[in-house]
């Protein structure tokens, strides 16, 4: 599948990634090869086949509505690159 400039830029934006011209050329080529590879699957006739969503055969897996806390705050914050003891701290973002 041809990955054109617009599609590439859209994907880069969604992935929050930036590429140099050289990197872009390589990745764009890779993406085309990957999508071509998956394209092989299209050769199979799936007209009467239901889409496969779930790999397990399980159905109706649910739990009772009972609350319990499983994670203490200090444990939750332990892996965070930045925190103030109460909140996770992330780079400033204003959604406006």
């Amino acid at each position: 599948m041809k990955i054109d400039e617009a599609t590439f830029q859209h994907l880069a934006k969604l992935s929050k990634l930036q590429f140099s011209k050289e990197e872009q050329a390589i990745i764009q080529k890779d993406l085309e090869r990957i999508t071509d590879f998956f394209g092989l699957i299209s050769a199979v006739d799936t007209t009467a086949v239901e889409p496969l969503i779930y790999l397990s055969e399980q159905e109706n897996v649910s739990r009772a509505d009972e609350a319990r806390n499983t994670l203490a705050r200090e444990d939750a914050l332990r892996n965070a690159p930045k925190h103030d003891g109460e909140h996770f701290l992330v780079p400033k973002m204003i959604d406006k």
Binding site: I53, D65, A67, N69, T70, E86, H87, V90, M93
Partner: protein, 486 residues
Amino acid sequence: MAELRISYECVIGLEIHIHLNTAAKIFAPEAVTYGAPPNTHLSPLTIGHPGTLPYLNKGVIERAIKIGLATNCSIASKVGFARKNYFYADLPKGYQITQDQNPICSDGFLDIQLNEKAATKRIGIERIHLEEDAGKSSHDQEAHTAVDLNRAGSPLIELVTKPDIRTADEAVAFVASIRQLVRYLGISEANMEKGQLRCDANVSIRPLGSSKLGQRTETKNLNSLRNVKRAIEYEFKRQIGIAKKEGIIEMATLTWDEQRNSNFAIRSKEQAHDYRYFPEPDLPPLLITEAQLTQLKAQQPELASERKRRYQNELGLSLYDATLITEDLADAQYFDQLIAANIPAKQAANWLGVHLRAWCNENQKTISEFPLAPEKVAALIRLVIDGAISSSVAAQQLLPLLLENPNANPQELAKKNQLILKDDDDWLLALIDATLEKYPDKVKAYKQSKKAKGLIGLFMGDIMKAAKGKADPQKTKKLLSERLSA
């Protein structure tokens, strides 16, 4: 060329998010809370740790089906979820688990009324689906955005209407009806101030008579009925302004600025999201059987409209009283308890609608926070019915005393404060005569002219004042009339 005057109509569709009142979150076991210290209700799943799997809470399914049934929706026989992908710090997994193609409820309707005498209007409901809420970001800190994930994973339903709403008032009536409905169903407290019910409004305009839909805008996160009304009215006018100048109304996501009474764009068409929905493979499908639906249907509580009809037909309440009492489920339940304590419906409605409501309004509280149990209020009303105290003394003196001593016995409290009516005709007649002697001219006027009948109010006032609240008004009136016609 003469100026063409085009009238426009407003076309509105609503998206309403409602928090479900389950104990635990939708896919994780920790408690759903409001105002808890930040990040104290978390699990590895909620903070997006690898290797965790969502586990569906049964409670949310029952609640979603309840509102689906109450809004005449079809209920899906197979429920699955989908991932909505976007990047934001208060969404640690990088996607929100929601429903895409197959919502749990679809294709229903709700009838609304602008007021109790107006004709009903049917508003179509496109879908109701289940999803998880995101966390909360606060931007007050200098260098960072602070993230609290307590809310992340709280269960929500999103209800989407068809574009059937035509005015801001209809939109308000719809939101109010949904709020009342979920409270009656017991599936959400739906407190808009707490963010338990939030509303987005899709607004477009079209020339009156046209059946084509115009380009719509979406105003996000309206958190009060007042803001729903103001934001829609503002957007309607803004779009007409553009159309009159032959401009183009562009797709935009807007936010309502309550202080400035205007809106501003937070996202344009170019910035539109691409959510890349796909089925959530980690949650196995859930099958809903006819037997389950039949059982849930049988368990549906009596809704406001049914209760209103019952109060009118079986208890003889007026439309006005029945509407007032059924507006809020807590009021209706309090009323039922007064009725259960053998208080006649009209008196129960009157006490609840006038005196108890006055307390609630003054203290900005709801009836559930009223300090006196219904049995206590019933005992107080019983004193009036039995003629032991007058209704004005009961409301103005005994009720406040009782509120100060919520555990006291109303009858004993009335006795202690000498509020019991005096059952003594001689005493009452003496008071009546004293008043009549005070106003010989007016007594004469009363006897001579029919126009002076209003004077009886003056006499009554004087007598009741002299009786210091201990005269039974009805008996006094009767004795006074007899004296005057003698």
